[in-house]
């Protein structure tokens, strides 16, 4: 069966690599096993915490950029964000979750992060 549409590229391997990388965050088959349900809950909670943490970090960066933080505030915010990041790394380690896994697909709205 021959299709008339052409797919033209001089670099098929590179495109295959990038396309597959982009698809790595696709939702996996739903599994109702109790062990995975527990892990699923942890994933959900950690995803939401990650969202907030990233929002806070971004907000802090904007304020640094605008110059609206004092030296003392920069130090305090930095300490807090650092502790938060370390805590999250610890929790991810405990539940065996990777960064790419902590995301939510909202269907037509795209991915959460």
């Amino acid at each position: 069966m021959i299709t008339n549409t052409i797919v033209e590229t001089e670099s098929p391997e590179e495109f295959i690599e990038e396309i597959e990388k982009a698809q790595d965050c696709l939702p996996k088959k739903i599994d109702a096993n109790p062990k995975t349900v527990e892990k699923g809950l942890a994933k959900l909670v950690l995803t939401l915490i990650e969202l907030i943490r990233k929002l806070l970090e971004k907000q802090a960066m904007r304020r640094v950029e605008a110059g609206s933080l004092s030296e003392e505030e920069i130090e305090k915010v930095g300490e807090t964000l650092m502790k938060l990041e370390n805590k999250m790394d610890e929790l991810k380690g405990i539940f065996g979750l990777k960064d790419e896994e902590l995301n939510l697909n909202l269907g037509p709205l795209g991915d959460l992060m």
Binding site: T5, E13, I16, I19, E20, L26
Partner: protein
């Protein structure tokens, strides 16, 4: 220009090196063509839902199927391209 031609045969055992190289390029172009097609037919276009639709292509299975399909494509193509496979066997 890469138009997808399906069902080509590898018959001769000579010029192995060149054939493997050509087959590699052919394999990769087939793979990219398949990816382009899959991206479209699996969940774009008219997507109808409801009780009247009996479809095995469940959303979860689709994404699972994509990975499975791609690895099976590679296996099939490797077998087809291999100069050591005798008369063309359908690898199913």
């Amino acid at each position: 220009m890469i138009a997808l031609a399906h069902g080509h045969r590898t018959t001769s055992v000579g010029f192995q090196a060149e054939k493997v190289k050509m087959n590699n390029a052919v394999i990769k172009s087939k793979e990219i063509t398949l990816l382009e097609i899959l991206d479209r037919v699996l969940d774009k276009g008219v997507v109808i839902s409801g009780d009247i639709v009996i479809s095995v292509a469940d959303v979860d299975l689709i994404y699972l199927g994509l990975k499975v399909l791609l690895s099976s494509v590679e296996t099939i193509e490797k077998l087809r391209g291999s100069p050591f496979v005798g008369p063309m066997q359908e690898a199913r």
